[in-house]
C-alpha cells in the first residue's frame, strides 16, 4: 500500500517519480508497463525544444552524476556534451545487448519498462541532435525485439517521438556488444570490434558522431529529465548517486534483478536477494570480466565504482554472484575462462593466442596437475593480456584470472599438493553458456 501513497506524491508541487525508480511500475502493478500505463505514471518525456532546454538537459545529467550502467561507469553527461559538440549530425545507439551471461537486468528492464528506455533514447537523441536511434538487441531475444519494435511504432503513431527508432537483432557473443562492434555491425554487418581511434563519439555509425549508451543508463536519463538532478541524488551516495540494477545469482535464496542505491554494501545486496543458501566463500563482482572478492571483504565493500575500486574491482554490468565455500573457485574460473577464450573475436594476437593459453593453464590448475613451471607461466601469460587487444576483452579475462589466484590461494595450494579437489569435478555453481560460440555461428 505504501506504493499507492507514494504515487499520490506526483500531485504535489515538486515533481516526484511515483513510487520509486526504474522498477517501481512493475512492483506497483506486476505487469509490464504498456504505453497507456507508462503515460499515466510518468506523462510524456519532456523533450527539449530549444537550445536552452537542450543545454539544461545535458547539465541535469552532469549534475545528477549519472554514470554509464553498461560496464565502464563513464559520466553520461560528459559523453552527451562531447557528442553534442561534435561536427555533423549525430547518431544514438542504445545498447541492450547484455552479452554478460551473469546479467539479466537489461532484459528485465526492457520487459517491464520499455517506454522508460525509449524515452531516454529520445531525450538523448534530442540532446545530441541525432536524427536516428538504433536499438541493439541480441538475436536470441526475438520476442523482445518485436515487442520493442511495436512499442516504438506505437509511440511514433501517437506523435510522442520525433526521431525514428530502428530495432536490430545482432549476433549474441561476448564482444559483439562492445561499442565498436555495434558500430561495425550497423555499418558493415560484421559484429566484431574495431580498432580505435577513432572512437565512436568522434566517428561512429556512417562516420558520424555516435552516442552509445546502455539501455539502463537511458532509462535513468528519462527520470532525470522529469524529476531533476537533485531528486536523482536523493538515492545513492554523493560520489555515486542514484540507483543501479543488480543481478544477484549463485548461492542466494532468491536470485534475480534488484534495484539498489549505489554504494550499498555487497553484503546487504546479498541479503536483499534472500541471503545465502550455504556458507559463502567468495563473490564474483562485475560479471565474467569482473573480480573475485573473498566474502569477508565483499560484504562490507560499497557497490559503486569508487567503493569497488578500493577493493580492486568494479561494478561492471551490475553483477554479483555468490560462490559457496564448498565450491571450487578455480574450477568455476576455469570454466568462465574457457568460455571467454572461445568468445574472442580472434582479431588480435594476444587475445587469439594468449587468452586460450591462459584458459588452458587454468584448466590444468583446476582439473589436471599444473606444476611450478606451468604456474609461473600462467602468471606471466595473465600479465601479458591487459592493454594488448583492440577492445578490452583480454583485460577483463585477465582481471578474472588474477583475482581468482588471489582470492583462492588456499585452493591453489591444495590443488598443487593433492591435485584437484572433489568439488572441482561437480558441475559448478555459476552458469556458463554452452551455446555454440562465434566460431560456429559467425559474426554477421
Amino acid at each position: 500500500m505504501t506504493l499507492q501513497s507514494e504515487a499520490s506524491a506526483t500531485h504535489s508541487a515538486a515533481p516526484q517519480p511515483p513510487g520509486g525508480r526504474l522498477l517501481s511500475g512493475w512492483f506497483a502493478t506486476g505487469v509490464p508497463a504498456d504505453l497507456d500505463q507508462h503515460l499515466l505514471r510518468y506523462g510524456p518525456a519532456p523533450l527539449p525544444g530549444s537550445k536552452e532546454t537542450v543545454t539544461a538537459l545535458i547539465t541535469a545529467a552532469e549534475e545528477a552524476g549519472l554514470t554509464g550502467r553498461g560496464g565502464a561507469s563513464f559520466p553520461t553527461g560528459r559523453k552527451l556534451r562531447t557528442v553534442a559538440r561534435a561536427r555533423g549530425t549525430a547518431v544514438v545507439v542504445a545498447n541492450g545487448m547484455e552479452s554478460e551471461p551473469a546479467s539479466l537486468k537489461d532484459e528485465v528492464l526492457l520487459h517491464v519498462a520499455p517506454h522508460l528506455v525509449l524515452d531516454g533514447a529520445q531525450l538523448a537523441a534530442a540532446a545530441v541532435g541525432a536524427d536516428v536511434i538504433h536499438l541493439c538487441l541480441p538475436r536470441t531475444r526475438a520476442a523482445q525485439r518485436s515487442t520493442l519494435a511495436l512499442a516504438a511504432a506505437e509511440r511514433r503513431r501517437e506523435h510522442l517521438d520525433r526521431i525514428p527508432v530502428q530495432v536490430h537483432a545482432l549476433p549474441h557473443h561476448y564482444v559483439s556488444s562492445e561499442e565498436t562492434s555495434l558500430v561495425n555491425w550497423i555499418n558493415t554487418g560484421n559484429a566484431r570490434p574495431l580498432a580505435t581511434p577513432p572512437r565512436p563519439f568522434e566517428k561512429g555509425v556512417e562516420g558520424r558522431p555516435t552516442l552509445i549508451d546502455n539501455v539502463e543508463t537511458l532509462a535513468h536519463l528519462a527520470l532525470i529529465a522529469r524529476y531533476g538532478a537533485a531528486w536523482f541524488r536523493t538515492a545513492g551516495t554523493p560520489d555515486a548517486p542514484g540507483t543501479v540494477l543488480v543481478t544477484a545469482s549463485g548461492a542466494v535464496h532468491t536470485p534475480g534483478v534488484y534495484e539498489m542505491p549505489l554504494g550499498t554494501p555487497v553484503g546487504r545486496i546479498l541479503d536483499t536477494a534472500g541471503g545465502a543458501i550455504a556458507p559463502i566463500g567468495a563473490v564474483l563482482v562485475g560479471g565474467f570480466f569482473g573480480s573475485w572478492l573473498p566474502i569477508e571483504q565483499a560484504v562490507r565493500t560499497a557497490f559503486s565504482k569508487s567503493g569497488l575500486a578500493a577493493a580492486g574491482a568494479g561494478p561492471g554490468a551490475g553483477v554479483i554472484a555468490a560462490l559457496p565455500h564448498a565450491a571450487c573457485g578455480l574450477a568455476e574460473t576455469a570454466r568462465i575462462l574457457g568460455y571467454l577464450a572461445a568468445q574472442s573475436a580472434r582479431q588480435c594476437g594476444p587475445c587469439q593466442f594468449g587468452l586460450p593459453a591462459v584458459a588452458e593453464d587454468f584448466a590444468q590448475l583446476a582439473w589436471g596437475g599444473l606444476d611450478r613451471t606451468g604456474f609461473d607461466r600462467l602468471h606471466r601469460r595473465i600479465g601479458l593480456l591487459p592493454g594488448r587487444g583492440a577492445c578490452r576483452h583480454p583485460d577483463g579475462a585477465a582481471r578474472l584470472a588474477a583475482t581468482a589466484l588471489q582470492t583462492f590461494t588456499d585452493d591453489v595450494r591444495q590443488h598443487f599438493h593433492r591435485g584437484p579437489c572433489p568439488a572441482a569435478g561437480t558441475h559448478g555453481t555459476l552458469t556458463v553458456p554452452t551455446a555454440p560460440g562465434p566460431l560456429q555461428e559467425g559474426w554477421q
Binding site: Q347, G349, P350, F353, G354, R388, A390
Partner: protein, 72 residues
C-alpha cells in the same frame, strides 16, 4: 616542451611479423607467439630514429607514432 612521442599499435592489423622488435628493440619485445609487448610506449627524442624506422618497416602498417599526451 618535449618532442617525445608515443608508440601505438593497431592490434587488429598486427599480424605478429616481429619486424618492430628487430628494428626498435629499445621499446619492443615479443611474446611467445611473436606479438609485440611494449611496456613503455613513450619514445624520447633520441630514440625517434629507431621508432620511425620501425613504423616504416612494419609490413602491415600497424605501428603508429602519436604525439605524447600532455604531462599531468
Amino acid at each position: 616542451m618535449s618532442a617525445a612521442k608515443r608508440l601505438s599499435i593497431d592490434r587488429i592489423a598486427c599480424a605478429g611479423r616481429g619486424v618492430c622488435a628487430e628494428l626498435f628493440p629499445e621499446r619492443v619485445d615479443l611474446d611467445e607467439w611473436g606479438y609485440p609487448v611494449i611496456p613503455d610506449p613513450t619514445v624520447p627524442e633520441h630514440l625517434l630514429g629507431h621508432a620511425r624506422r620501425a613504423v616504416a618497416g612494419c609490413p602491415v602498417l600497424a605501428l603508429r607514432l602519436d604525439p605524447a599526451p600532455p604531462e599531468r
